[in-house]
């Protein structure tokens, strides 16, 4: 035999990982610097597959980094910058201590700084990679842009975030890429489709933050530092794709004398002219779209989808909105402009309003108050939820439900995609029916005629899905019926009936067969191996839980009172 005795933990997975403390020592960095470096370089701990092997037999909880990652950090030029900065701080402190003010000034002039460009390039080798990862950056920048100058972070950072977010919003408006919006209790979610990537971000409501004490703002600031760099480069590239100049002129408006919302609004209104200019370009592009060598059906489907998207992009085109003072101006102006509407607001509130309330051509006025004294007869007074619901439904919803002072229908999340067996709220069913172009139940004849004229295109579809709709409609009605009953009669006892399949011979057979199958399955389950049985039980448990949740939701209307579910009255504009 012979040979050297092999020592444990000197090969294999134990050598592939390194604990955080060891990594820190290897890099000769303080914990704060190490953290900063990890954030900037996107290094994160890995969970080893066999923790005990990696941990050299111990089961103590430790975080492990890949050894390769740490070795990779060794060559990072920014580490030297960190050290330089440390030296700078030391020198500065010394100069202060000796009261050498010229020295302090000189040191300050030569303050070492670093750039993150190369790190961005390295982390995101292609533009699409970067775009895919921008969700967090957007949310963070939007949050920082709402901060006041409270000393939680540098003013420059806040200004930069504001500038970048305004640029982003401008891009979204210009490219008309907004897809979904959602009013949640946390803030407003937006989803845009940029170069084929779905990007979602969350913007808090316009309130002053009360800054929590248990949050480390240095971590957030480091992230923001990285995100702003990334975001700037992405904005540059996006503007380039639209043949726009970067940085755009709107940023000139940025001045800290205005409040944040004001800046954004003014910026948005300023960019309006450009949106109109680029619309023509887009049309040209779309004409070139059809491709060759594809199946006819595929192409048709694509074309249809494209058409739908086009239609959505022009959802509010030709409408003229006026925002009352109590509605969130910034988000509404952003959304409405994304879909081609004209927006204005009271000039006394904020700069950028282009027309007055008294304008006769205004079609919709967005109001969030129970009543208005002076109302114009030729415009709708609607609540802001209409805009959001319409965007999500990709169609202008009937305005009746959103009138002043009415109880609003529930606001549904557009991000939920129901699979088979999931619970679908009845409102969503209604909406889907409406989207398919189904005729509402109650309406005047005249309106129907109008509607039919408009719906000529969609008639083909109608025939296909008619049956489904019918059944669905019936189900819905039944549901409503049961709900109504639930309200009036708490408990109702009906005499039991002998079901036909219990007596009938045919039905009996079917039932017997079913029972037999069920028993077969039960017996086969008994013969399962222990391991498989465990897995099977787990899967079945999960399935049962989901069905239980769904059923609990389904029978939920018994709990609170739901406003009577009336069909969307339809008046098409």
């Amino acid at each position: 035999m012979g040979g050297l005795q092999k020592k444990k933990y000197e090969r294999g997975s134990a050598t592939n990982y390194i604990t955080r403390n060891k990594a820190r020592k290897k890099l000769q960095l303080s914990l704060a610097d190490f953290r900063r470096l990890c954030i900037l370089k996107g290094i994160y701990p890995h969970e080893p597959k066999h923790k005990k092997k990696v941990n050299k037999g111990s089961t103590a909880p430790r975080t492990f980094y890949l050894f390769k990652d740490i070795r990779f950090l060794l060559h990072e030029p920014i580490v030297r910058k960190f050290r330089e900065y440390k030296v700078f701080v030391r020198k500065l402190r010394k100069a202060y201590g000796k009261a050498e003010w010229t020295g302090v000034e000189r040191l300050r002039d030569n303050k070492p700084g670093y750039k993150l460009d190369h790190i961005i390039k390295e982390r995101y080798p292609t533009f699409i990679d970067a775009l895919r990862d921008i969700d967090d950056a957007l949310s963070m920048c939007f949050l920082f842009s709402t901060f006041a100058r409270t000393g939680k972070c540098h003013v420059q950072t806040i200004t930069l975030c504001r500038r970048l977010t305004v640029e982003w919003m401008n891009y979204v408006v210009t490219s008309r890429s907004l897809r979904k919006v959602f009013l949640s209790i946390k803030g407003i979610y937006y989803q845009a489709e940029v170069l084929g990537q779905l990007i979602t971000w969350l913007v808090p409501y316009q309130f002053a933050h009360d800054h929590p004490t248990d949050v480390d703002y240095r971590v957030m600031a480091t992230f923001t530092e990285m995100y702003t760099t990334l975001f700037g480069f992405i904005n540059f590239r996006l503007y380039q794709t639209l043949n726009l100049v970067y940085p755009p002129k709107v940023t000139q408006y940025l001045d800290l004398t205005f409040s944040c919302a004001q800046q954004k609004l003014s910026a948005l209104s300023a960019s309006l002219a450009r949106v109109v200019a680029t619309a023509e370009e887009e049309e040209n592009q779309l004409d070139l779209f059809p491709t060759e060598g594809e199946d006819q059906e595929n192409m048709q489907a694509r074309e249809k989808e494209q058409k739908e998207q086009e239609a959505q992009k022009r959802l509010f085109e030709g409408l003229k909105f006026f925002l009352n003072r109590e509605v969130p101006r910034e988000s509404l102006a952003f959304i409405l402009r994304c879909f081609g509407a004209e927006v204005s607001w009271d000039k006394s509130l904020c700069i950028g309003g282009t027309y007055e309330v008294t304008d006769e051509t205004i079609t919709h006025q967005i109001v969030d108050r129970p009543d208005m004294d002076k109302q114009y007869i030729n415009r709708y007074y609607i609540q802001p939820q209409w805009v959001f619901d319409s965007v999500n439904a990709q169609m202008r919803l009937p305005v009746e439900d959103y009138f002043l002072g009415t109880t609003l229908p529930p606001h549904l999340s557009p991000f939920v995609e129901e699979k088979d067996g999931d619970y679908v709220p009845p409102e969503k069913l209604k909406l889907m029916a409406l989207q398919r172009g189904e005729k509402p139940v109650q309406e005047d004849e005249e309106e129907e005629d109008e509607e039919e004229e408009e719906e000529d295109d969609d008639e083909e579809e109608d025939d296909d899905v008619d049956d489904e709709e019918l059944t669905e409609e019936k189900n819905l009605k039944k549901l409503e019926g049961t709900r109504a009953q639930g309200k009036t009669l708490a408990v109702k006892v009906t005499p039991g009936k002998v079901k036909p399949w219990e007596t009938g011979s045919v039905g009996n057979k079917v039932r017997l067969e079913q029972e037999e199958k069920a028993e077969e399955k039960r017996l086969a389950i008994m013969m399962m191996k222990k391991k498989e049985k465990y897995l099977y039980d787990k899967i079945m448990f999960g399935k049962k839980r989901t069905t239980r949740e769904v059923s609990s939701l389904r029978c939920a209307p018994a709990k609170p009172t739901r406003p009577s579910l009336r069909p969307f009255a339809c008046r098409w504009r």
């Binding site: 990890c38 946390k186 077969e520 017996l523």
Partner: protein, 639 residues
């Protein structure tokens, strides 16, 4: 002499006092004068002589009179050191007054002396040193000129440029102008991208459908739960309009937590098990194809008044015998469910066994210390009479050996009842089993401490022997091999197989059970099943291994009885959960093919009383029927 020093506080004990005219100096030092209370003297003078106290001390009255009469009383001070009164002079009183006012002690001290400048403020006309100034202080410096001209030259030539203003705004450019797909590092392949933030559902809406709102109880539960246990990290809320929506208080927290997740949370690529649960279910032959097996309950035999412990079917399949805790043995006709005979015995019947030989009509019944051989006189008369003849034909041997049990022939009334032979054991008998030929019979007397646990009796010779010399544990049950001279003994955890002819242990089967309750041998003799109180049924293939070939955990509670069918490939197990599970257990003649075990039917019918369900199961000898006896005093037939 120095002027006398005033003593405003004589008690303080500063002993530098000198009296006018006298030089009494007390040398005791700074000690409390109380120490000298009981002595005639008060200290020592410089010469070491005692200073004596004044002869008469003043008392209170003297003091008072003094106070009243003496006009100088207010300026009189008592000196403790010398024990004498001192009258203060006018100067001294004055000094005291001044000190009390905070003034200087010396009357002549002037606090406000005029200040005198040390240095004059007048500029003097003459220099301090008389050295004339250097020439270089009048003419411009050449070196400086040279330096300046150098700088000017450098500026002219463009070597020195003015300092650039610092860039504060970051500069952006097209970073991905030259996208090189080859530049993707190997690291990116190892990269585990962070999952995106979860998209909000309906419940997060500011105006959700009412079914997503929590009820009062759910809300209370939510509030009491820990933050990690909560299903939703927030409370769904409904606001009637957008202007009523408040700021979300945990917004910054959530962003921060996301940041933490991004750089602190260990990541791992996990393969999700994407298994169709239907695929996990083993593909077994359909029970339909494995018929016949009992499927329905067709008869219930009622009559016993207590739980029915044991049953046994006659070899012809016409009769069934059952023993119960109500001290009776009942004989039933299988097809009709009629109780043909009821025999009272003197104890709870633990076990009954019908002689497997069809030419003999004998039933062994055991209760307490007795094993009773009965002739039920059912069925063929010829068989009944030949059985009686067989028993009476016994001739006692010449040498009467000492036996472990006493054999007694029943006569008279007992004979009429059907009793034939009574075997009285030294200990309580739990089980009785017949050998396949019907001549031998074995009885079990579980006892942990002796080797007398199993006895084998021969009926024709009325002989008894104890096959084991050693105690190997508490015997649960025994069984004869149906074809070969083997004997199976199940102790608590093991089954031992003995060769009766060679008189040796051939195999020891490990059941992996905690406590065996029952055992049955396949009629082929190569397979064996063991039921145990820990809900398991172990199938042993004796040719394969001493470990179980299959462990079946079909029952939810302890197994009480197991049985094989004699002809059909069936076996059944009864348990405390009140169910009898019938399985198809096909044993192939081909030695290479393992037995096929498929559960085919779960038979339910017995009620659970006192946590006991089915106590014994047995198959009909010819038909695919199964009998089960239960704690609910019934016997049931499943066909």
């Amino acid at each position: 002499p120095l002027p006398p020093l005033p003593r405003p506080h004589p008690a303080k004990g500063i002993h530098k006092c000198r009296k006018m005219g006298q030089d009494i100096r007390n040398t005791v030092g700074n000690v409390p004068m109380e120490w000298y209370q009981d002595y005639p003297h008060i200290g020592y003078n410089l010469d070491g002589k005692k200073i004596f106290k004044p002869i008469r001390n003043k008392d209170e009255l003297d003091e008072f009179l003094d106070k009243m009469e003496n006009p100088d009383y207010w300026r009189t001070v008592h000196d403790k050191m010398t024990a004498s009164d001192i009258r203060l002079t006018d100067e001294q009183v004055d000094l005291v007054h001044r000190l009390q006012k905070g003034q200087f002690g010396d009357v002549n001290f002037n606090e406000y002396e005029p200040s005198v400048d040390f240095f004059t403020n007048e500029v003097m006309i003459h220099p301090v040193t008389n050295r004339p100034q250097d020439k270089r202080s009048f003419i411009p410096s050449l070196i400086e000129k040279e330096k300046v001209s150098k700088l000017v030259h450098a500026i002219k030539m463009g070597w020195i440029k003015p300092r650039k203003p610092k860039e504060t705004t970051p500069q952006y450019y097209d970073l991905w102008a030259k996208e090189d797909p080859n530049a993707i590092l190997g690291r990116h392949k190892m990269h585990v991208p962070a999952p995106k933030m979860r998209l909000p559902g309906h419940e997060e809406s500011y105006n959700p459908p009412p079914e997503y709102l929590l009820t009062e109880e759910e809300r209370l539960v939510w509030e009491q739960q820990d933050a990690e246990d909560r299903k939703l990290p927030f409370l769904p809320q409904k606001h009637s309009c957008l202007r009523a929506v408040p700021a979300f208080s945990r917004f910054i927290h959530e962003r921060f937590e996301r940041c933490l997740d991004l750089y602190l949370c260990p990541r791992q690529r996990k393969m999700r098990v994407n298994v169709n649960p239907e695929d996990l279910i083993p593909k077994l032959p359909k029970p339909k194809d494995l018929q016949p097996f009992p499927t329905t309950m067709s008869l219930v035999y009622r009559g016993h008044t207590s739980l029915v412990r044991c049953i046994s079917a006659s070899p012809t399949g016409q009769w069934l015998v059952s023993g119960s805790d109500d001290f009776t043995v009942r004989f039933w006709e299988v097809n009709t469910g009629r109780c043909m005979k009821t025999l009272e015995v003197g104890g709870a019947v633990k076990s009954v066994a019908w002689n497997p030989n069809p030419a003999v009509c004998l039933v062994a019944v055991c209760f307490e210390h007795t094993v009773l051989l009965l002739n039920p006189s059912l069925g063929d008369r010829l068989v009944v009479s030949s059985t009686d003849q067989l028993i009476t034909a016994y001739e006692p041997p010449e040498e009467d050996k000492e036996q472990a049990v006493t054999w007694a022939l029943s006569e008279g009334l007992e004979h009429n009842k059907g009793h034939r032979l009574t075997l009285t054991h030294p200990k309580a008998v739990k089980q009785v089993v017949w050998h396949g030929k019907g001549d031998y019979l074995s009885s079990v007397m579980p006892d942990n401490s002796s080797n007398l646990q199993v006895l084998i009796h021969q009926v024709s010779k009325r002989r008894t022997q104890n096959p084991f010399r050693k105690n190997k544990g508490l015997v649960q049950c025994v069984s004869f091999h149906p074809l070969r001279p083997y004997f199976f003994v199940a102790t608590q955890r093991y089954v031992r197989v003995y060769n009766l002819i060679k008189q040796e242990l051939t195999k020891k089967l490990m059941t992996n059970c905690k406590w065996i309750s029952s055992m049955a041998i396949h009629p082929g003799g190569d397979n064996l099943i063991c039921g145990s109180y820990d809900c398991r049924l172990a199938w042993f293939d004796l040719d394969l291994s001493t470990k179980p070939y299959k462990m079946l955990r079909h029952h939810k509670k302890a197994l009480r009885g197991v049985a094989y069918h004699r002809n059909y490939p069936l076996f059944a197990s009864g348990a405390d959960d009140g169910s009898v599970i019938v399985c198809h257990g096909m044993v192939y003649n081909d030695l290479l093919q393992n037995p096929l075990i498929v559960p085919v039917k779960v038979l339910k019918g017995h009620q659970i009383t006192h946590d006991l369900g089915v106590l014994d199961v047995t198959f009909h000898p010819t038909q695919p029927w199964v009998f089960s006896s239960g704690a609910d005093t019934t016997i049931r037939l499943f066909t």
